[in-house]
């Protein structure tokens, strides 16, 4: 690469401008990557949702309950493989700040339909199934509160009273699950719906929702219609939807995350890119006399144009790499910036690639402006202009 000095001499000579451009680009791409990670935190649950699973809720709202007797009726609907009842416990550990999700479920049915999503010791599973007050927790939450298998913990719920009209419930930690899938929430806790139902002071024989595993992931629509048709005109009509769209709908209650993400990013990004873009274009324009000289020496306009584009793309890639790297560091070192709102928080590799792709494109487009000038340059006029 004998032409390399031509590219880098220029970058390195205008040090102040180069640093300014790099700083602006890194900020823009830091925000891009970091906000992407936050967005992923919000919508990651969608990716983790099972393709063959559905959620049955009360048609009135997700906060209305249904009788547990529906379980067997749903199981009889053709196409349904498994059903687990589920309810939201809404508890926290010691302090309201320590809120995390706890679900009362049917242990065997629930684990069976989430097979492969997380790993857990078979002995611990068996221990959990046997222990009526047992709980299964994710490794993230175990780490957060320093819980170990065998611990007896007390959670306070803002929703449910137990038979003693007390909000404090006790559980035994029977197992700790781990996972390789970064989109799976490991901040959660599972426990026996049966224990929950028998111990609570009110709301008995009711469930929050049912999670269903179908026999055929391609038939979700048909199966959900069958279920909803079956319960039509009953006291509690149902609304069945694929777990993915259910999760998405749930997330969208906070707001259209993607739209918010895009608008914040759009404004910052476009401003910064406009600033860097003009600095970079100006830098290249200052070169027009060099370019005229080079063309007199015998370099073809196309060659000079190529060098210009490469320079522009390289600068954009360097700046964006710094920003993306910083974002990655921030994500892995400081974790969830919302302090618990985003149980799943990591920067997906795809974000880095998208960012670099975007940066490359940006560099290319910025490079195109002077390149058009170069390709249209009249050698004679240019020479007159400099002589």
């Amino acid at each position: 690469m004998k032409f390399l000095p031509l590219i880098f001499a220029d970058i390195l000579t205008k040090k102040v401008r180069f640093i300014f451009i790099l700083a602006a680009l890194s900020i823009a791409f830091f925000l891009f990557a970091y906000l992407s990670a936050i967005k992923q935190g919000f919508i990651g649950g969608v990716d983790a949702s099972g393709v063959d699973r559905m959620i049955v809720v009360n048609k009135v709202s997700t906060f209305n309950t249904m009788p547990i007797s529906y379980k067997h009726k749903i199981l009889n609907v053709p196409g349904v493989l498994r059903v687990s009842e589920a309810s939201w416990f809404g508890g926290y550990y010691q302090d309201r700040k320590n809120t995390f999700p706890q679900y009362a479920v049917h242990p065997e049915d629930y684990l069976a339909m989430r097979e492969g999503e997380f790993e857990i010791d078979e002995e611990q599973v068996q221990a959990w199934i046997k222990d009526r007050e047992g709980a299964l927790i994710g490794d993230t939450i175990a780490e957060r509160f320093g819980w170990e298998v065998g611990d007896r913990i007390t959670l306070t719920t803002t929703i449910w009273e137990n038979k003693q009209w007390n909000n404090d419930w006790e559980f035994n930690i029977c197992g700790i699950a781990t996972t390789k899938n970064k989109n799976v929430n490991m901040q959660g806790m599972l426990f026996h719906h049966k224990y929950f139902d028998e111990a609570r002071a009110w709301g008995n024989d009711q469930v929050g929702w049912f999670t269903i595993q179908s026999k055929d992931a391609k038939q979700l629509d048909t199966i959900s219609n069958r279920i909803d048709d079956f319960f039509e005109n009953s006291d509690n009509e149902t609304k069945t939807s694929p777990e993915k769209s259910f999760t998405r709908g749930f997330i969208n209650q906070i707001g259209d995350i993607e739209a918010i993400f895009l608008s914040i990013l759009g404004v910052v990004f476009i401003t910064l890119l406009a600033v860097t873009g003009s600095a970079m274009t100006q830098g290249i324009k200052e070169h027009m006399s060099d370019i005229a000289v080079m063309s007199v020496i015998g370099f073809s306009p196309r060659f000079i144009a190529t060098i210009t584009i490469i320079e522009s793309v390289v600068v954009a890639l360097i700046g964006s790499s710094i920003g993306i790297m910083l974002a990655w560091l921030a994500c892995s070192m400081f974790g969830d910036p919302t302090n618990g709102l985003l149980p799943i928080f990591h920067m997906p590799d795809l974000v880095a690639w998208k960012g670099l792709g975007l940066a490359g494109l940006f560099g290319f487009v910025i490079g195109l402006i002077p390149v058009i000038l170069i390709l249209r340059m009249d050698k004679v006029q240019a020479l007159r202009a400099i002589n």
């Binding site: 031509l6 390195l12 015998g298 400099i386």
Partner: protein, 230 residues
């Protein structure tokens, strides 16, 4: 046509048009230069000296007429052929030196060599030879901003001769220099002419500079003559 002439321009006509207006800068111009000549080209400002230099360099083409250099009619070459021809045959020296400010002296001189198939060592050898010819080996790593005007122009000359072209075209090479540095440049050009047999055409407004050449030609009313307009 004198067959011994190295540069032979005949019936050169160069017209520039700006919108509806057009001006004839060169008009039925004839010019013959033998190999190894050193010409000083003088003439009023706007008389077409730079225009003629650009035609000989193959940077521009005449409106009509032919320019035969070393047997090749360069007006008949297409754009890229002419560019290639120029890189092999012409060294161009600018009044304002026009070194690339981001590159040091050595890299500036190396620039034209990048267009040739040469490896790094060969390029380096040639660059050092050119720099030593202009007596600037010790400034190889200086940026243009760290050089005096005279030194910059010597780097400019080194860049022009590094590919070993036969023809050196200099457009007011001493125009920006004081007398002393200007004289050094003229001496250098004389040496290149007499010892290295470069054919040189030097545009100048300075009679003192012109006196260093073997011949002085005057450009007026679009034609070349050996006599100044009185």
């Amino acid at each position: 046509m004198n067959s011994s002439s190295y540069i032979n321009a005949q019936d050169i006509h160069k017209q520039f048009s700006k919108g509806s207006e057009s001006i004839d800068v060169l008009n039925d111009l004839d010019l013959e230069i033998v190999s190894g000549d050193f010409i000083a080209l003088m003439g009023a400002s706007g008389s077409g000296k730079s225009t003629l230099l650009n035609l000989i360099a193959g940077i521009d083409t005449p409106t009509h007429g032919q320019i035969v250099i070393d047997g090749i009619d360069i007006a008949k070459l297409n754009d890229s052929q002419r560019t290639k021809w120029r890189t092999n045959n012409i060294g161009y020296v600018f009044q304002q030196y026009h070194l690339i400010s981001t590159l040091n002296a050595e890299k500036n001189v190396e620039l034209p060599l990048l267009l040739h198939k040469l490896n790094k060592t060969d390029r380096k050898k040639r660059v050092l030879a050119a720099l030593s010819l202009v007596d600037l080996e010790d400034r190889a790593h200086h940026k243009p901003s760290e050089l005096s005007g005279g030194q910059e122009q010597r780097v400019g000359i080194a860049r022009a001769i590094v590919t070993d072209p036969n023809i050196l075209l200099c457009d007011e090479p001493t125009g920006n220099l004081d007398r002393k540095s200007g004289d050094e440049i003229l001496e250098l050009l004389q040496g290149l002419n007499s010892e290295h047999n470069k054919t040189i055409i030097m545009v100048t407004h300075d009679p003192h500079a012109a006196a260093c050449a073997k011949r002085i030609l005057y450009l007026n009313e679009g034609k070349v003559s050996t006599k100044a307009l009185q």
